[in-house]
């Protein structure tokens, strides 16, 4: 930096000495690019002049990426290893015709061994779902039918009055005491 200012002063002095020489013409001296101090070929044995570089902290970014990789690979690598082992050493199932007089289990309808395991241990067979749905439909239809029947019966019994509902028991007529009204002048 000091060398630069010395050169600038020297160029200004040279310009003042020879005003007609169009080397670095006056007035635009400071705006012109100054030739580098190292424009001659210089070869260092090290990496050159060491700079103290100012840049913002990358600690947080690097920490985030490190933690991201760590937590992804923590379960990612075991899962990948297990799946590779299953695919290589157990392998997918092959399609075959159903043998005579044999009813396959519900998990034997799937190809991949992990799907078969899930179907065998975790899921219900689709036949069970089907039967459950039909049982629900049956129960709800019976309930609806009973409610409809009950509505009809109620309507008819109210109308006609000959049924057990809406049939209010009256008192026995032999219990009535007619004595207050039995003589006209009571």
């Amino acid at each position: 930096m000091v060398g630069m200012s010395v050169l600038r002063v020297a160029a200004g002095f040279a310009a003042r000495l020879n005003p007609f020489k169009q080397g670095f013409s006056n007035g635009r001296l400071l705006n012109r690019t100054i030739p580098k101090t190292e424009s001659a070929a210089v070869r260092y044995g090290s990496h050159g002049k060491q700079m103290f570089v100012f840049k913002p902290s990358d600690y947080y970014d690097r920490r985030f990426l490190h933690l991201l990789r760590y937590y992804i690979l923590l379960t990612g690598i075991p899962v990948a290893a297990i799946i590779t082992y299953i695919n290589v050493f157990i392998g997918e199932a092959e399609l075959a015709e159903i043998p005579e007089n044999y009813v396959p289990e519900h998990w034997e309808y799937y190809k991949h061994p992990i799907t078969r395991w899930i179907a065998r241990n975790l899921y219900d067979p689709p036949e069970k779902n089907y039967e459950k749905m039909m049982a629900l439909i049956e129960i709800e239809s019976e309930k609806a039918e009973m409610r409809r029947t009950q509505m009809d019966v109620r309507k008819l019994m109210r109308e006609k009055g000959d049924g057990p509902w809406y049939h209010y028991e009256t008192m026995d007529k032999s219990l009535i005491d007619y004595s207050p009204k039995s003589t006209p002048d009571n």
């Binding site: 290589v88 392998g91 399609l95 075959a96 015709e97 309808y109 439909i137 049956e138």
Partner: protein, 169 residues
């Protein structure tokens, strides 16, 4: 894919070069599979099967107030629709492949394939088209009933309505 077995006696330099490039990647992979993977898996081989569903009474054999018969008929209708969707898809792929292969000669070579697809598509639409988003077997059944009545009154579908319709059953 390698250049194919139908060219076996006839491979020119480009085909052989392409086969070499293919083998460069496919060779080690196939070797690994045949030497290590298959012996490891052949001990206890797993098999899987396709489901076979029994035929249940369809919607026209169900009583009016029987929701279980309706549910089973509906499930059967959905399964049949999936099968027919895929049949139509295969016919469509055949037509497209034929047209792509023959390009400008497609009119000469692809007539039968196109007719097959057209009839299959028409039949699919007659059975499943325009019945609404919910796959309801009753809607398809009613559609068929209305179509038969219309055909009885006016003739085959596509031949126009007759102007005056006398009292029909």
């Amino acid at each position: 894919m390698p250049t194919g077995d139908e060219n076996v006696g006839n491979k020119n330099l480009f085909f052989r070069f392409y086969d070499g490039l293919y083998a460069l990647i496919d060779g080690p992979v196939t070797l690994f599979r045949e030497k290590f993977v298959e012996p490891a898996q052949s001990g206890n081989k797993l098999y899987y099967y396709h489901r076979r569903y029994r035929r249940v009474p369809s919607i026209d054999e169900c009583e009016v107030g029987d929701p279980i018969c309706y549910y089973e008929a509906n499930e059967q209708f959905r399964r049949d629709k999936h099968v027919e969707d895929n049949i139509l898809s295969i016919l469509r792929q055949r037509r497209l492949e034929c047209e792509h292969y023959h390009r400008y000669d497609a009119d000469k070579y692809c007539e039968k394939v196109k007719q097959d697809y057209l009839t299959a598509e028409t039949n699919w639409f007659t059975k499943y088209g325009d019945i609404g988003p919910k796959l309801d077997v009753r809607a398809a059944y009613m559609k068929q009933k209305h179509r038969l009545i219309w055909e009885r009154r006016h003739g085959p579908v596509g031949s126009g309505m007759k102007s005056s319709v006398t009292v029909e059953h």
